[in-house]
Symmetry: C2
Subunit: 243 residues, 2 copies
DNA sequence: CCTGGAATAATTGTATACAAAATTAAGTGC
DNA sequence: GCACTTAATTTTGTATACAATTATTCCAGG
């Protein structure tokens, strides 16, 4: 195949959104986050390439990015890369969720420092999202995927409202990895959404009142609790991909 | 040139530490951090390649990494990359230093949660480093580079003592970018090192006493002050590389 | 002088060929 | 059957060729 790019005559099946490395990246990331690519599983450049219909070059680019973000690790000590899907461990979950808490906490602090008008607008939006979250949590049977997404939307709103490009980039890189843990174990911990709803309420209140310190602390607490809960669940359910 | 790797018969001048992409990455990063590659300056793959004696492939890998970490940005909206050294702006400095504060704050919190024995060992080491820092600050004429490095050693000690691999990786990616700002403007703000020494003392005390919350807050305060000072200095001295 | 546009050059994206490692398979002697 | 060596295969690292895109130059017309 010649090295044509962005040709207008795309074949029908590949809708082609974004550059090729981007496509590969998105595809692999989804597979990892959703567990189709199991922790510890090997990633072979040529295989991915043929499977997705690209050459190794864009695949390599995507893998590098995934590696840097931590979705993928290379066998340590080896001279050659040998990439595998990162294992899910208790320690990693704890560390990761706490980091997300810090980043989102900073974002919350900054929202709480915005002018009153903006704050009320954001809090109103957050209230609505929290109500959504609560409703999804009450609904039986619980749709775990929707529940995660409702929570995600709420948190993301805080970040988008205040974060500059640096914090956004960092958050975008780290959050999906937390998602890996949360999605995997959410079914085991979604029994008690009331606690989360209350924590969200505390966050929203602090933002509305413009109390930066309190908003930051509330977000961090929220995540710290999540970290503890998930670490506990992993302790029971066992780690996956590490042995 | 054939694609030989890790050959034992390296030419004398290239001592070859690490893989080729790693070498290129290190080299470019240093050039950017030390300002040899000015903010806004163009980065051309072939030029870098010939200058360092490698082909475009490893250069590309290094550039990608630099881009993801934020040292380098691609012209927005363009279809092709067009990489340039990231500009130094007031807003970016503020955002970046606050992020570092959060990450190191989390590290400090974790150190403060370690068993007493370990905490006393770390605090002793930190005390020594802080004394070093103070001494360097008093010495006339002030060696700004040494002053930065003394500060850096102290902060790094906290991170190394407690951070897991995730936090370490994140910190290693973000901190050198803060370094870019600090090194550039340190000569303008190193007049008053006493404030920094005191802030360090507060951090060390909290760690010694095992007060996680206070340790975290102290580190964040330290960085928030630095952020404010540097943002102010940039306001006076003017931004570089953005226009 | 400067404005527009075609020709030219520079630069990046992608595929691919080949080399170096590393892994696996296959013998071989015991 | 098992340890050990060697051959074959797989997989990654690097260089390079070519295409697509973007920037630059140059020249005519006003």
């Amino acid at each position: 195949m010649p090295a044509r790019r962005k040709s207008t005559d795309e074949t029908a099946q590949e809708t082609a959104h974004g550059t090729r490395p981007e496509q590969v990246y998105q595809r692999l990331r989804d597979l990892i986050v959703q567990g189709q690519l199991a922790p510890g599983g090997r990633l072979v450049e040529t295989e991915i390439g043929t499977r997705l219909g690209f050459s190794r070059t864009p695949v390599r680019e995507a893998l590098q990015r995934l590696q840097q973000e931590g979705f993928v690790v290379s066998a340590p000590g080896a001279q050659q890369a040998r990439l595998t899907v990162s294992p899910l461990t208790r320690a990693d979950a704890h560390e990761l969720l706490n980091i997300v808490g810090e980043l989102e906490g900073l974002a919350a602090r900054w929202v709480a420092m915005r002018p009153a008008e903006e704050r009320t607008a954001v809090s109103a939006e957050l209230e609505a999202l929290n109500a959504d979250f609560q409703r999804t949590g009450r609904h039986t049977p619980i749709d775990h995927s929707r529940l995660y997404e409702a929570d995600e939307r709420l948190h993301r709103t805080i970040v988008v409202a205040s974060a500059g490009p640096r914090l956004m980039a960092l958050h975008d890189g780290v959050k999906p990895q937390a998602e890996r843990y949360i999605r995997m174990y959410i079914s085991l911990l979604s029994g008690d959404t009331n606690a989360s709803v209350e924590e969200h309420t505390a966050i929203i209140g602090a933002i509305r009142d413009g109390e930066a310190e309190r908003a930051q602390a509330a977000v961090q607490t929220n995540w710290r609790h999540a970290a503890e809960r998930i670490a506990m669940v992993i302790g029971i359910a066992g780690e996956r991909g590490s042995w």
